[in-house]
């Protein structure tokens, strides 16, 4: 028993054949090869499978694929390709020991990028509060919080192009 779901994944319209019981996380991994969507618990507790669904972060293991009919889904693959804020967070995570095994990292980046979109200059407490639903077993979190804050600082870095927010050189 399969259904057809039409949705956009990272800007491309796709038509998926899915079982009604298949989660969005599983369907994305199976049909779209979006490996950034990682399964750490499959019951919404760890945040490693976080994606954007119509602009809001969701845990894709808690959404059935058929519920995404007509939706715009964005994963870390998509944001890494075009979202300057997401890219800035990636770079910031890369240079500050903000991840170890990295399994949680894409989910962290998804949540952090949503935070920065809503609140461009959060303080450490806001970052901690927002990331409280994303579990990391390696770092002890301090370097992750610092990684997000560094991406905020990057917005005013002299090496940053004020027009685009992109880092031109360091």
């Amino acid at each position: 028993m399969t259904d057809t779901v039409r949705l956009a994944v990272n800007g491309s319209d796709v038509e998926l054949r899915v079982e009604p019981r298949e989660t969005l996380a599983d369907a994305l991994r199976r049909t779209q090869g979006t490996r950034s969507v990682r399964l750490g618990c499959e019951h919404g507790a760890c945040g490693a499978c976080t994606v954007r669904l119509d602009g809001r972060t969701v845990r894709s293991c808690l959404v059935f694929a058929i519920q995404a009919e007509g939706a715009q889904v964005e994963t870390a693959e998509g944001l890494a390709a075009h979202d300057a804020c997401f890219q800035r967070l990636q770079e910031s995570f890369a240079c500050g020991n903000a991840f170890q095994c990295g399994f949680c990292a894409t989910g962290m980046l998804m949540t952090a990028s949503e935070l920065l979109a809503e609140e461009p200059r959060p303080d450490a407490d806001s970052v901690r509060e927002r990331l409280a639903g994303n579990l990391c077993r390696c770092t002890g979190y301090e370097s992750i919080v610092a990684g997000v804050l560094r991406a905020v600082d990057g917005a005013t870095d002299p090496a940053t192009d004020p027009a685009t927010g992109e880092v031109t050189e360091r």
Binding site: R29, G40, A80, C95, F103, A105, T139, G140, E169
Partner: protein
Amino acid sequence: MSVRRDHASIAPQRDSVGETAAMVNLPAALSGAAHYVNDIEPPGTLFVAMLRSPHAHALVRGIDVAAARALPGVHAVLTGAEVLDRAGPHPVYWQLTGQRTPQTRAMAVDRVRYHGQVVAAVAAESRALAEDALELIAVDYEPLPVVATVAEALAPGAPLLVPEWPDNVFGEQVYGTGDTDRAFADAAYVVEEEFDFGRSFGAPLETRGCVVEYEPVAGRFEVWINSQSPNRVREVVSEVVGVPQARVRVRIPAVGGGFGTKANYYGEEILACLLARSTGRPVKYVEDRDESFVASSHARQQHLKVALAADADGRIVGLRGDVVGTLGGELSSVGMGPVWLAAVSLPGAYRIENIRVRARGVMTNRSPYGSYRGWGAPKAVFAIERTVDRLARTMGLDPQELRRRNLVTPEEMPYANGILARLDSGDYRECLSRVEALTVDAGWPDTIREARSAGRRVGMGYACFVESTGIGPSRVMTAIGVEQAGFDEAVARMDAGGQVTVYTGQAELGQGILTTIAQTVAHELGLPPERVEVVSGDTDRCPYTGYGTAGSRGAAVGCEAARLAGVELRDQVLGLAADRLEADPAELVMDEHGVGVRGVPGRRLTHAEIGRAAYRDLTLAGDGFSGTLQGRAVYDPTAMTYSYGAAAALVEVDAETGEVRLLDGAMVDDCGVVINPDVVEGQLVGGSVQALAGALFEELVYDADARLTNPDFHGYRLPRTTDFPPLRLGHMETPSPASGSGVKGVGEAGTLPWAPALCAAVDDALADTGVFVTEVPLRPERLLEAIDGSGVATS
């Protein structure tokens, strides 16, 4: 220390990110580029699901898999009877003296001894379909009386979990030195306490998994597995499945955290091999999160009774310790090792002449007990440090003063404690003083004073630790009873293009071992670290590392083997260059541009020219040169190394709710020579937060029927961003004389001091009640009970 400066001057690879090139080389984990085991899916892959026992103890009288086999899309259903037929017993490689080992298989055959033990495995076209098939399997269980706790296991007339055994004890080990009876009889002070350390586990965010392909013509298994010990997995598959080691290739993809959980080997990878062979299709098994709670090694749970005897001046003269581990229904691959280590680690950093310790491992109907970062040490540190606090309280002495009087001093080192440990180097008292200085700098005394005058219950406490690192001298391993050597082999090659590649048996789990290996070898070759490639995680390509990446040995043993291979490669390169440049090797310098004669600018070779001479045009090399540039080294440490440290916790206790909150924490550690400060800090902070969560809320809770009651991340609480403040870290650096590089090892240090420091701080916050905390995790209800028991009104 000059070595440290040299290493530190080599920027770690990750620190170079931020330059333009970093955009191209963004770490794979930060996008969809990384391949974890669940991202590996050869064409035609079948998906495996395991049927797990709902009973903690039962006979399996029959199993009907006909309906499951008939389900379209199901390719195979494997039961215990077939495993018995197609595979050998599952080995336990920690075979301590005095340890009985029940024979077990990769899945239950006719009896289950823990909730969650595998009784059947299905391979099907999808995971969901495989799980559908599980529901069609009918197992005829005959439930047996359950042994849920150590008390039940040791009670007279307890059900015998292995009917052929006289009792439910796996075994015991006793170690001693001096005359403990006399020391205790003559002592001015004697204290004795009993402690409980709760059951928890590593819980890496990525569960265990493997993908296995079988090539029938060659008879070869290709295994992808997120293991910390690829060579062990290869050997075990070979032994159990009955195929030559040369026909088993084990590869490690990106690994989503290990923490010892993935250092053990398990039955599931054997079942995957059997299913791959019988179906002729690649098979993938990835543990569900709820399965991981019963199927990945449990750890930590021990009961420890510790007594200390001291003379009138507060010199500790005697230690008695009795450690009982709540092991599971079968032994994990490390046997009762973590219980043994807790017992022999009890003397810690102290000078104690009369010691007697006993370790016992008791079988219960719980999940198997294996490795988790810190192994036996966190329990030992907890028990000894708490007992020292108790002794100080009894004597009316400041606990830190009591510690200072008994910590082994640098002048006494190397200090053999009489029961295995030989403390190699360091200044334990200075370390404690530095932690005290951190707390003063941070204003803790004022904070406490102000908080208390405002009616808040705030307190601070300390703990010291020493840990054996750098497992391990191979002959010591054998003497202990470990059927696995502890050396590392490494290979360093310069290829025909002049590029250097290091091959290691170490596994990258996110801790940064590949970066530190690159730094270490690059340092020997005069190269920036990004010019050294490191290849790991492939038993066909990489050298042998039996024990793998565990026991705080990656830097101490793995890096040192790589360094020695790099030195050998350097000597070969210099030899070739000396011939070519007609110079004495001693006159040559090796740097990022190649090899040159010191002080003669024109006389030099680039790496590319050296590579060409060694591989493609041997007329450019000396007459005796026979081709290739490859250093190979085996490093077997001559002794264990001993890292150490101390920590302090500042806590607030809510006496109404029993809630404990860490307000601040400080730790100073010494892990010998530091190769990469960022990596060390990452290990310390990560391990510390695991330990803090373990001391406050992580606990696997069993019910009276020995069923795990909280097998998910809602019921088993991992630490979150909002739980703990940033920790204050200080660092000392004393090279170990026992290792060539002076490196000791740091992977587990963070897990050690926090439980006792936190409990001491809680005692301090509740000083008027006389509470003395003896159990972790420090759940609010337990603390309230202790406060109520004190009879002091706290509101």
